[in-house]
Symmetry: C2
Subunit: 340 residues, 2 copies
DNA sequence: TTGAAAGCGTTACCAC
DNA sequence: GTGGTAACGCTTTCAA
């Protein structure tokens, strides 16, 4: 059988209260007994049952992470950074792939509440915010990450998506592009990026390509990027540059453009978003708007822990700034292109 | 405060024993009380505290997954499939990035044992097997996945790595290649793949390129692939084909070869391993030896659950078979190449 | 068909 | 300094 605090107490000839105190470094106990108890614990290969201590009101040292899809490199990298920081701080991460499906979100939420996780980090869609409000009402720590946030008070860390779109647009404008397509999903963050993109264009008297439409295909970003690109290329008034709202979409754009015999960036400039590892894997290496994924992971975990420890009175929002990473997939508008 | 089974019992005018029975569908209770209790649970928004029931000997419905690195697409895809199947079966997954670091492995193992996870799935390196033996001795369910296994009795699911290497070699041999390089790490699975590769070559009287060496750089597979490729390209007796032991390494190989002005596959055939999502993202699309990641995830989780439920008397091993996925990065040896 | 009570492995308060 | 003991929220026998 498992060895418990009783076994240790008996073997050390002390009470369980004493053992508990040496485990937690609380109370006053003589150095002699402390040493003895520690020795016995080693000998018996005893390790405390955290379920029991959590039942007594201690933390479970476990955080639930709800994320749309680990296969998406942005999220797997984010998950990795969150887990890294969690590990440093003594927390384990339970990972949940939601697929933007609110039924799954709810199932996970309930299950993890039953397991008494110390808090939730939500990277998921959560277009429906009732559940988030519920958590807050139940006083369960929540932090939202990597999506922009609702109008009510909630802890969050995210980048300025509006600015990200703005940066992307300015880069293309500086390169002389005037006819730009966008590939985006109908999600909050993508809408914000689009808004920023629009904003930059408008201040230069430009508009995005008429053939723009939000993509519907949720399952496969690459396919979606390909599909939307085809639409741009078959349509009249072909864009000379495309802004894809994430790197995966951009990969699809590039694939399809190549299949059409276009050269990137000579015939079409492509800019992505996220700066995931695939940006350097595809050919040409992708110019993209970088999210500081590592900092985001760190910040969100730090924020979570400070909330758990009651160090935050007020809700707080951390906004990180995106930055342009220039690689080879964008270039100045080639005038010859206009004949297309 | 949290609502407990006592609150429900009081509100329903029954004992907590009765409430417990309706929660677990055990014992005999009249339909009338069952309905009443259920109604009250809803009204009070009651959900059972799983810590308490786990303390009483029930499962925690949580599995620890130790994996080297979520950023590696092979592992993130595997983790996703495991989590998917776990979710279907009512289990949550705690994810742990070990970076092949046995100190981290040990920390995670201990921590999760304290949290009384129902079992461990080990995708990590675990070249040191003492810890695995310890788990088995403690009768904690363990399944090893995606690495070949030690000489002692342990549950495992993996592909036949030897055969994978063999398949890769045969493909290249059929294409007429005679001078082949390999890019591999000094890990069990890679060694097996290499052994299979060798075996196929030898039965055709061939040997791998003399410049072969295991790569040491652990952090960055792409960089490692690039580096090893450079070695092959600068050395005399240049290979006409390269077998990279995973897709990421293959991506590095292709990058470097292109930088040297080589055309893939005209000047150099490249074959990868894993068939992760990046195989279709890079250019040209990568010919690779596919691991059936989805099946692996499913099998490993199913095996884990059957062990937890005591349905397995003996240890079992599931060996899945790799298969060749032909894309554009390999082609028949171009005779003109030999002048290189 | 229902309920009382013992126990799961801790922590924390209060005596001694 | 140390120990007894009442929680924590649940499951499970055993009586009623």
């Amino acid at each position: 059988m498992k060895v418990t605090i009783y076994d240790v107490a008996k073997a050390a000839n002390v009470s369980i209260a004493t053992v508990s105190k040496v485990i937690n470094n609380t109370g006053n106990i003589s150095d002699k007994t402390r040493q003895k108890v520690k020795r016995i614990m080693k000998e018996l290969d005893y390790y405390p049952n955290m379920l029991a201590s959590a039942l007594m009101g201690k933390q479970t040292k476990t955080i639930g992470l709800l994320i749309p899809d680990l296969v998406n490199p942005f999220f797997s990298e984010l998950a990795r950074r969150i887990e890294d920081r969690g590990h440093e701080l003594g927390y384990n991460i339970v990972i949940c792939n939601t697929d933007y499906d609110s039924a799954k979100e709810n199932k996970y939420l309930l299950l993890l509440k039953q397991k008494r996780v110390d808090g939730f980090i939500l990277a998921s869609g959560f277009e429906d915010l009732k559940k988030v409000e519920e958590l807050i009402k139940e006083e369960i720590p929540v932090v939202i990450v990597a999506r922009d946030f609702p109008m009510f008070s909630v802890n969050a860390v995210a980048i300025d998506d509006f600015m990200g779109g703005y940066v992307a647009a300015n880069h293309l404008i500086e390169l002389g592009h005037q006819n730009m397509g966008v590939v985006a999903r109908d999600l909050w963050s993508n809408r914000e990026r689009l808004r920023g993109f629009h904003y930059a264009l408008e201040s230069h008297g430009l508009q995005i390509n008429k053939n723009f439409d939000f993509i519907k295909d949720i399952n496969d970003h690459i396919k979606a990027g390909r599909h939307m690109t085809e639409k741009y290329l078959t349509g009249d008034n072909r864009p000379t540059a495309i802004f894809a709202c994430n790197d995966l979409l951009a990969a699809g754009v590039i694939q399809m453009a190549k299949e059409w015999g276009l050269q990137i960036p000579e015939d079409l400039s492509v800019i992505g978003f996220d700066n995931t590892s695939i940006a350097t894997v595809i050919d040409p290496p992708l110019t993209t708007v970088a999210q500081p994924i590592e900092s985001m992971g760190r910040e969100v975990m730090d924020l979570m822990v400070s909330i758990i420890n009651g160090e935050k009175e007020e809700k707080s929002r951390v906004t990180l700034l995106p930055s342009l990473v220039t690689r080879k997939s964008t270039q100045a508008l080639n005038v010859a292109c206009k004949t297309n």
